[in-house]
């Protein structure tokens, strides 16, 4: 493997009312800093891609903060994905036209899959990232959103029919734990889909990245891995050196 062939390593930035935060299992947000400054730092570090999620837009049913997104895009010479509060193909179009490559959708897929299909037809499958959030019960993997009894298999069929170009699996139990990705679910999703799969939720080391790729993921994403360090979880935005990633992925 060459330096330029390393799988994508994607920081996830969570926005809450315009501020950058970190959550554990998507709750108890802790303030991390200013998103525009963070994007600037990750741009200097030549991060592969960024995934920006506005948790307040989803929680409070607010539309995306287009002004903030425009400022973020003007600092980023790397691919950007945005998720949170997208209600229609038209919303998706507004975000893409600000300089984002992709929109991430999960609840829209459940509420109105036809809008996701429309967005895929208009802007191309590569512009639509479908998110699947799972949580573990004592005996099985459950979908976090949607109807009781909904299965992972059904959800993947829904994603396929909606024409998404990429799927992100997010294990909400592992979010912030740094114990590693949910490899069995990643293995199942990537064996059933032909589109690239991104693993998210639980990364604590570069070895976890390697495990996810070995399980079939095309790319890996993480939150606190890039932003909090040491026992006291001090905030420091970092991104692994390519040489270090090469030794992990290429070795």
């Amino acid at each position: 493997m060459e330096l330029e062939d390393i799988p994508r390593v994607i920081p996830i930035l969570l926005i809450d009312d315009g501020k950058l935060v970190k959550t554990v299992s998507f709750s108890s947000p802790a303030y991390l800093g200013d998103p525009v400054n963070t994007v600037r730092i990750l741009n200097q570090k030549e991060a592969d891609e960024l995934l920006i999620i506005d948790i307040s837009a989803t929680r409070e049913s607010k539309p995306p903060d287009l002004g903030l997104l425009e400022r973020l895009a003007s600092e980023a010479f790397m691919p950007l994905t945005y998720g949170g509060g997208i209600r229609s193909a038209e919303d998706a179009g507004k975000i893409l036209s600000l300089g984002f490559e992709k929109v991430a959708v999960e609840s829209l897929l459940l509420l109105n899959p036809d809008e996701v299909r429309l967005a895929s037809d208009w802007f191309g499958a590569q512009a639509i990232l479908g998110v699947v959030t799972t949580t573990e019960s004592a005996s099985s993997t459950c979908l976090r959103w949607g109807d009781v009894g909904d299965t992972l298999e059904n959800r993947l069929a829904l994603l396929r029919d909606a024409g998404v170009g990429e799927v992100l699996h997010y294990d909400s139990d592992r979010d912030g734990t740094r114990e590693g990705y949910n490899l069995s679910v990643i293995r199942e999703i990537s064996s059933q889909l032909t589109v690239p799969v991104i693993a998210a939720g639980g990364a604590g080391s570069v070895d976890h990245f390697r495990e996810a790729v070995d399980a079939g993921a095309s790319a890996v994403a993480a939150g606190s891995f890039f932003s909090q360090h040491g026992k006291r979880l001090a905030t420091l935005i970092s991104y692994p050196k390519r040489e270090d990633l090469l030794s992990v992925f290429g070795g």
């Binding site: 030549e46 895009a73 300089g99 802007f123 191309g124 590569q126």
Partner: protein, 207 residues
């Protein structure tokens, strides 16, 4: 008619990534303008056709906006330089497996689907490297170990158009093609950090 001065037009015909292209060119420091009207295309030394989405919808929008005729006229100008990016690049070819409508035909290539037998994830969505060929023109230069962001499901298959870069994804494919004053990049230079900046700067400094 001759082009006066150097500046770059970024065509906004309603499909996508013109804003990121404009951000990167501003960062390079080259005069540029997003244009939504084809009537003044001939004033620019360089023209970029961006785009993401479906081939036929893009051709329909180009047609509706009066861009097809304007681009044909621009293509004939002495000193004109035309770059297509991603879908905008595919539109410069003759046809695509993705659509039924003919492309602009400035470059002699077809756009085809990646063979399913390769069993690789599609879209090809990742950073990847490029290799120069014996046909790579002198004006096009990028740093050693450059990597570029790719995000596409269809690929150039050149006929008379020359391959300027090729890239591996299961099989080698042409990731930049060109002829004369027209060039097509399959990757996204506007989203490829300093590597993409170098590729775009090459284009803008091409005389």
């Amino acid at each position: 008619m001759a082009i006066v001065g150097k500046s770059c037009a970024i065509i906004d015909y309603g499909m996508g990534n013109f804003k990121s292209v404009s951000n990167m060119i501003r960062h390079i420091g080259f005069p540029s303008q997003i244009i939504t009207n084809p009537s003044n295309l001939d004033d620019f030394s360089h023209v970029i056709l961006p785009g993401v989405g479906s081939f036929d919808r893009a051709m329909e929008l180009l047609d509706k906006g009066g861009w097809i005729e304007a681009l044909h006229s621009y293509h004939q100008l002495r000193g004109a330089h035309l770059l297509g990016i991603c879908l905008g690049a595919q539109l410069l070819g003759r046809r695509s497996d993705e659509g039924k409508i003919d492309g602009l035909g400035f470059l002699d290539f077809e756009t085809i689907e990646l063979p399913k037998t390769l069993k690789l994830p599609v879209p090809h969505m990742r950073w990847n490297s490029v290799t120069e060929t014996e046909d790579t023109p002198g004006w096009l230069s990028v740093p050693e170990h450059s990597r570029f962001y790719f995000s596409h499901s269809y690929f150039f298959r050149p006929k008379a158009a020359k391959t300027y870069f090729f890239t591996h994804y299961g099989v080698p494919f042409s990731s930049a093609v060109g002829t004369g004053n027209v060039v097509a990049f399959q990757f996204h230079p506007e989203k490829s950090h300093r590597f993409g900046k170098a590729a775009l700067r090459s284009f803008l400094e091409w005389n």
